[in-house]
Subunit: 498 residues, 4 copies
């Protein structure tokens, strides 16, 4: 295909793009693009490679139906020299002052040695990251009630510590889904690691290796899957998180690629048939060019707001299908009720993640630690359900302290995932930051085990926690420091005075 011809396919009726010398017909994909069709149409008929690379790793193209790739550019020499887009600084005076203050803060960033807890990382990231990037990382759905509740609920679980136990030798190692782990933590999959730090997911992979914890590789990182696996140590256990594409052939390809690279477990995301309403993010300019939010708007056609990237028709029967295409462990990520936890067992999943997607999907759902308490109690009352089964439970969301981790273990979790908390560490200090964060958590866990009077994780059970305050006063209490570093919600801004 020739540049001249390609250039004519520059509209919603027929929309071709050149990426890395190949030509893609994205006409049918326009409505399914998570970033909106506007940004694609802006580049229709041209070479979009540079813009594409800003927001996607190359292997994102694997998510497209194969027939989208319709050929190669035969006369690349005729491609117009991409002119440096003239950057017009349209920031207001207020924004310029804020940006200067931010750069000053970066220059005075605390030394890593001064960081003593995970809130410190958040405090640094909040004030030194690009505000749009921070909005993307930190935002939750709607009023962020669930986002805050995720953490606050941990603080309403109280410990019953035992004394006069020999706690000289404390062991926090464990295995999760058969793989060894230095501590019952894992790095949960999060998108867009690169906007916090240039090493992004690679830094996470490397820190997981040095600290002996497991990383769940994200489906939507800004590095490609293989790049991330390459960054890991040869024997480092990895998991893979999957958004299930509507096209099952694509899914099969991706899953098998992961298995081939030695991934131990497949975490199928089940809580995202629709994208949550993350208002801080919507308000930020981050997605400005990529968002349709300021279109003249097809509001009320919400049912259009899904994507081929996520199969809204995914059901329980698909668990068997996944089993048929892979021998990796299969874990369902995003369970939020006792009923679905039981169904997961009945459909032979190897485990579940009790999670509300970090408070980014449905608003006013309960904190994972609270749901876990219910599920755990139900399984204890009905031992026949799990009898003779290998079934592991995980939670994620709001974890900031070693004590949070141990509370989950007391209530039946095998391990606990951290997402944002480690992104914040990475944003400020890269791989080293993540390592320090894990080290802090390990220290807190040892201290906490000693003071609870236990020497290994399997000694922990419900008797070590008091749940009287867990249900009830939701919304108020909470940890002083968590509230301290929380960025309050805002409402719409009036126009700038010029």
């Amino acid at each position: 295909m020739f540049v001249e011809e390609i250039a004519t396919h520059n509209s919603a009726e027929s929309c071709w793009l050149i990426i890395d010398g190949k030509v893609y017909d994205l006409t049918d994909f326009l409505d399914e693009h998570p970033g909106g069709k506007k940004i694609i149409l802006k580049h229709a008929g041209t070479d979009a490679t540079a813009e594409f690379d800003k927001f996607h790793p190359r292997d994102t193209l694997n998510f497209l139906a194969p027939e989208c790739c319709i050929g190669e550019v035969e006369d690349p020499e005729n491609l117009p020299q991409t002119e440096e887009e003239e950057v017009v600084d349209d920031s207001t005076e207020e924004e310029r002052v804020a940006e200067e203050a931010r750069l000053d803060r970066i220059a005075h960033k605390p030394d890593l040695s001064k960081i003593i807890n995970l809130y410190d990382f958040e405090a640094v990231a909040r004030t030194t990251m690009d505000p749009n990037g921070f909005a993307y990382y930190s935002s939750g759905t709607e009023d962020e009630i669930t986002l805050r509740e995720n953490h606050n609920a941990f603080k309403r679980v109280y410990f019953n510590p035992r004394v006069l136990v020999d706690v000289t030798d404390v062991d926090q190692t464990t295995t999760m889904l058969g793989s060894p782990a230095a501590t019952p933590l894992y790095i949960s999959a999060t998108a867009m690691g690169k906007i916090g730090h240039e090493d992004g997911e690679l830094a996470l992979a490397r820190a997981a290796g040095t600290t002996g914890i497991i990383q769940m590789v994200p489906n939507l990182g800004l590095f490609g899957f293989d790049e991330i696996v390459d960054a890991a140590q040869p024997d480092q256990p990895l998991w893979f998180q999957l958004y299930v594409n509507r096209n099952k052939e694509i899914v099969k390809r991706i899953v098998r690629a992961a298995e081939t690279r030695g991934v131990k477990a497949l975490f199928v995301t089940v809580d995202a048939p629709h994208v949550g309403k993350r208002e801080k993010d919507m308000r930020s300019k981050f997605l400005a060019g990529r968002s349709d939010s300021d279109d003249n708007g097809n509001h009320g056609d919400g049912d259009k707001k899904t994507s081929a990237l996520i199969d809204t028709a995914l059901t329980w029967k698909d668990v068997a299908w996944f089993r048929s295409i892979t021998s990796m462990k299969i874990v369902l990520k995003g369970i939020q009720t006792v009923q679905d936890a039981v169904l997961a067992v009945q459909h032979h999943a190897d485990g579940i993640v009790i999670s509300n997607h970090g408070g980014r999907q449905l608003e006013t759902v309960r904190a994972p630690i609270e749901v876990l308490a219910d599920v755990n109690a139900y399984f204890k009352q009905h031992p026949e359900i799990l009898a003779g089964k290998q079934f592991e439970m995980f939670i994620d969301g709001g974890v900031r302290r070693g004590s949070d981790v141990l509370k989950a273990i007391c209530l039946g979790a095998r391990g606990v995932g951290l997402g944002r908390a480690l992104l914040y560490a990475m944003a400020g200090y890269g791989q080293e930051g993540v390592e320090k964060a894990v080290a802090i958590l390990k220290d807190e866990i040892v201290m906490c085990m000693r003071l609870l009077g236990v020497t290994s994780l399997n000694q922990l059970d419900e008797s070590y926690v008091d749940l009287a305050a867990l249900k009830g006063g939701r919304g108020s209490s909470g940890g002083a420091l968590f509230d301290n570093v929380y960025e309050p919600m805002g409402v719409v801004k009036f126009k700038a005075r010029l």
Copy 2:
């Protein structure tokens, strides 16, 4: 009658007014005027048409007993030329500065495209509306505890979302009282729409038409009933809200007029035998000229503070009487207990609105969502009560999110009314604002249904909500954004320093 004679009836002993060329004897009506007798007496014996039109649609005169109209002016040429009342600017320096700031905010009002939730509309209305108008709209009774509780209670209802359900096709349409609706929302009747926007109730009617939702036409709008009906599309379903006049002939006339214009259902207001104490409104100057609050005061004679416009003697037996005069559906608006919900069924009402009048009547009553939960549980425990009956329940008060709507549906509501929230949208952006507000809610509802794992409203029931936190800690929690845009109560102001 001649102008000269009319002019002599200018006192409380005999009080005549000219409106639109007709002469009314309002002597007996003085004590019943909702706006107080002072303002009527100010115009006694003269042509009050211009002043009347500021605060009433012409058809308000239908509420008067027919015998009040005692004749016509036979010599209109002798009416004194109404002199433009010389406006004395008696505002303080502080008020002038505030007004300038308000005009500046209006000039910098955010584009409608930037509005992403209903709190944004409130934030805009709060800071750009005339303060007295906003006080009228926003005020609740006494300490506004119930006003805030109405919303906050929704935030204490948590969801139990289900996963791995095919949610590709989600349908939020429904029928309410036999009429189709694009979503289980309706515009609740509110007075004085015109003070927020010149199109007032007409804008609401038009937006209801374009978005496919039902409007409950208010009894006390600043546009006349016929004007509002004319603004609706020919087949657009409408409901009618009624304050029951002490004079049953007037009621009959009004009800039959509504039925004639095709109104589908009559919502009889039952929670207003006395006007609530809305203190923000009392403090504002809005009703300055119309209020008796700075009289030397008949305080302690509270029993005088009712009006012929509202029959304090309305009782359960009147439900049958309404049935005898109309074939419209009959719904009782303002039920707040299980007992009265049961009585409504027993008296053959077609439905009820569980409502506390938006927190404007009795202080410290429970939020509608909480009362609904009780009523729903009671009906489930006593299925014989509703057996074989068509009976629909609605709630209004504090609704700001699609999730609020669905929580009500889970607990047995057929639909949910919005009042203030849409007035705020209208105040800032007219019909378009209301359309945008409805579109936002529809989007939120679709998202919320997908993330709950349902595809139609009738799949929702109590199992989708967790009520553990609903009762208990009333008063504290609440949505961040709701608190963010709430105008705190104030106390009496000291005199201005000159």
Copy 3:
């Protein structure tokens, strides 16, 4: 006795004072003086009439044992001309600025017509009263947790309003202890009315007369008992509050005097065998000259801190003794448990006031409305206790709204006392202020009764209130306006910089 001789009795060993020409030997009384011995000793051996009159009505002298009065001054002409004590202004710059601002606020005090609720009165009093006087009125014991809880607990009682009841004619009159009352309110006894307004208790008595409510005449007013009775209308029902003196003869004299003047009921204070620790008051300078708090201090000898004025040995058997000396109704003021309520019935009291002395005595006791709910439930469960008895229950503390009053009636109270709330009204506006306050409450009560669907007080019972939130989250919620006008607690101040 001659001036020269008297002057020699000027020490703690022998301490005489001249008041109004009579000589008193106060040597034994020094330790029992509520205002401390220091102020007495300052005037020992001299004519203290002027100083005495500042803080006591003349009939306070009746509380002294008769033998204290040891004679008359025989040579009054030799009394030194009391020199105007030279007032040294030792106020700091900060205090002078504050005082000027206060005087400016007094000059701009809102017109009475602008006052719309009882919080307004408090807001005015708080900022215009002498700070020391306001500290005396407003202070509660220790952290003022109970003081605030008294009011906040009302706000955790929710109403269950009924509709479609004929509420045209609403009647809030009642009888209390056999006397008619225009509304179920009474003015509770409070000390030191004169420091808020020069008319003090007289203003209260007059306002009670004009508004038809009952006044409980205080034992420690700054006007004498007879003066107050004289200010009342001839047929105006009065009650009398009594601190029980250790000397029973004095008690008998006082009680019989009250009965002679037609007082209907005697309220025996039972919750004050020790004075509460009112820290705002302690910090204020009000008692500066009268307080021993900056003595070198007998701290730890707390058992000395009682007074002949209050008999610490008062017990249940004394109820029969009171019955033996008077035919007035006998009510025990300050009951705080179910057990003591039952004992009161068993000891044939005519009634009780469930009260914690306005939060001025023991800290962290429960609000009267909560204790009332318990007592009422207990009596309902054990109907035999009250069978065939006339027994009336009252509560006081934290009442600010008509709805507060009705909640108490729902829970079995016959009437409700107001103390501080009316003092604040009086402080700002004298008798008229009190009348306005009562009028506001009456208006609120009528509104509230109509909106509850009742027409007389005896229709109210427990079914009209929801108590689910009453117990539990104590301390947080509360009325917006109450918090708005609350003066927060402070800690010790550092010395002024000169």
Copy 4:
């Protein structure tokens, strides 16, 4: 040994120090030093006497294994004259301003006579103490949730006061573990008293003597054990708190020394096998020179963070061992569950202290008053456990009011310990401050007993308290003044701008 030789042992491989003329080989002790090895290595090979004395009493050396002392300096004349270390003022401008303000506050410190409650002492200490010292005293573990909860829980216990009881003579004396006490308070053991006031633990001992209360002598004071005992009056009852050294011979020596000096009871600390994470303290510079926190860090090796000073292998069987070496009463300090309270009885302890170490050890454990309520209820339900036993329960943590003390007595405590509260009194005003604090508490206790209607402590039981609000809303409520003087948590600081 000669100075020249000693000087060569100046590394982690071989580390000798001279203290008071003796030579110690601390090579094996380096990792066990609570203050970190860095500070020891800094002085390795030299005379560290001056530095040692800043942070330890001389008898700290008793905690070392005897074989550490390897000889004496034979040529002290060759010791280099310790040059005054040149103090480099490296404080920032911000710090200098803060320090000047602090010195100004010290100059204007309130007179002791103005102090009316224990919060006042905290307010003074907080703003006049060296910030690092205050951080050491005031800090709790992690988010300080438990630290605050300790106090706040008291405020959720409400009283049920009884009336008409003869309370003329009130007696607050008691015995604790057989020793008489003027009031049911004791001074709990706290470390580092000298950093608040130069008299440190001696001031506490003297004030205990004058006020008739018992002092628990700390194991880690900055004065030596004998010095403290010498400061006490001859017959003054003393207790001794013990951190159990890994070397049982050392323990035996210390315990017997205490018994020899007449100590009545041994309080064995059981809640400190690992040091809590006190973040305010970590952030302060107090331990700057002594802390390893800014090392390049062996984080994740938390199991190294214990010390020979505290035996992590201490178990229940050791209770019998203590019994075998001493005839003092044996009390276990730091019990936090019903189970361990029962075990304590079964292992024949004479008592327990229900304590969470003032919120300094494990975060999110319950307040002692709440645990006490559970233990007390359990013992009441199982009377056989304590039948025929002498077993006394104590609590400490968060006590600030006489009412707090009495609430504990109601729930079965024999006495109540105060730690920080008295340190704050001492920091501002030395021995006199402590005496005043005790006097205030005694006054509050007398008042509170009178107003509860009791005359001796043994009349108090569960019927005097209402626990409905104790469990539940943890975290929010709390005393106004406690929150008022609380120093909020901070996060990491950015670098200073030069």
